[in-house]
Amino acid sequence: MADSVVSIQYLKDFVNSQIYDDEKWAFNVKLLRAAGLFAGSIVLMRNYGDLMAI
């Protein structure tokens, strides 16, 4: 139980360091936008791709 508390704190510190640092956040925004476009486009292609067929 103590181990999982330590790891949660480690995760919180890691997430905070990624959000509150300007340079890292700028990169993370680009990464999230690109990953969202990639994943969303795959979902769209697999489910609605037939609508684009001629």
Binding site: R33, A34, L37, F38, S41, M45, R46, M52, A53, I54
Partner: protein, 301 residues
């Protein structure tokens, strides 16, 4: 009358000793590259190819338009330029290919591809310029096995590379590469995977240079493909994703894409007549406010 239920079809047993030969390691992402990376240009382009006989052809190309030069500031700097390129191609199908192009500024590009045997291929390419230390050359030896391919590369500047790709199942192939650049004292290793079926192709590649490249292509029909790509280099903090379409019709080929950097592009090749193609290119970078439009004509095969 009793209806007989047909027995369920037995799942096809996979013969792991008889797998298909995978595609070359360097062409892992070829479907995504063909759909998402057309030859976009800005200005006017004219290409003329003349077949002198079945094996030999000459090529004349003219390109007039602005050329971007790298600048320190965020603004793009363009200089109007005009190029004429003369080239020749010799194809002795399937064993030998010789290809050469020379530009008015003295740059020479040359390629050789020769099948030394049924499984062994020799390839060489060179880019020669007038500027000192800017010329490059590379030779490759490719060996094709039953269900694997391997390549060995040797380039100037003590560049050594090797790659290997193996079919693991009917649809999945895995590969890896290593390289060593003696001049820069750098080395790297990379791994790749490719999964393809009749309807889709998914590939992934990671390298120790910090690059991650994922792609997915959905073949919607014989004429239509949709493609998506994700490229991330966490050492240079560069991330790009793009999503595009590729329509291959009888009279034209239309490709378009949008990417996560706010750039929209389209490329149209329209067949006006036998051997006569009209091309239109557009690339709109809304973030940098850089808009490029091009038109051209291609004559000959």
């Amino acid at each position: 009358m009793a209806t007989t239920v047909p027995p369920p079809a037995a799942a096809a047993k996979v013969d792991y000793l008889n797998l298909p030969c995978p595609i070359p390691f360097e062409e892992l992402h070829r479907e995504a590259m063909m759909s998402l990376k057309p030859d976009l240009f800005e200005g006017m382009r004219f290409d003329f190819t003349k077949m002198l006989n079945q094996k030999f052809s000459l090529n004349h190309s003219v390109l007039m338009g602005p050329t971007e030069i790298p600048s320190q500031s965020t603004e793009t700097i363009k200089i109007p330029t005009a190029h004429y390129e003369f080239g020749s191609t010799f194809i002795d199908h399937p064993r030998l290919l010789l290809w050469g192009r020379i530009l008015t500024d003295g740059r020479l590009n040359a390629r050789v591809k020769c099948d030394l045997s049924e499984n062994l291929t020799f390839k060489a390419n060179a880019q020669l310029t007038n500027e000192p230390h800017m010329s490059h050359g590379m030779i490759n030896f490719d060996y094709k096995g039953n269900d694997y391919r391997t390549q060995f590369q040797l380039g100037n500047g003590a560049l050594l590379g090797a790659s290997y790709i193996q079919s693991v199942t009917q649809h999945l192939s895995l590969g890896g590469e290593v390289f060593w650049a003696g001049q820069h004292r750098k080395s790297g290793v990379g791994y790749a995977a490719r999964y393809n079926t009749d309807k889709m192709v998914a590939t992934g590649q990671v390298a120790s240079t910090g690059m991650v490249l994922l792609s997915y292509v959905q073949k919607v029909s014989e004429k239509v493909s949709l493609a998506s790509e994700f490229m991330c280099n966490y050492l240079s903090r560069d991330v790009t994703a793009s999503f595009g379409y590729d329509y291959i019709l009888r009279q034209c080929r239309l490709r378009g894409k949008i990417d996560s950097n706010g750039c929209v592009a389209a490329f149209l090749e329209e067949r006006l007549n036998m051997g006569l193609n009209f091309i239109l290119s557009a690339e709109l970078d809304h973030r940098k406010k850089d808009y490029k439009f091009g038109f051209g004509l291609t004559v000959g095969e």
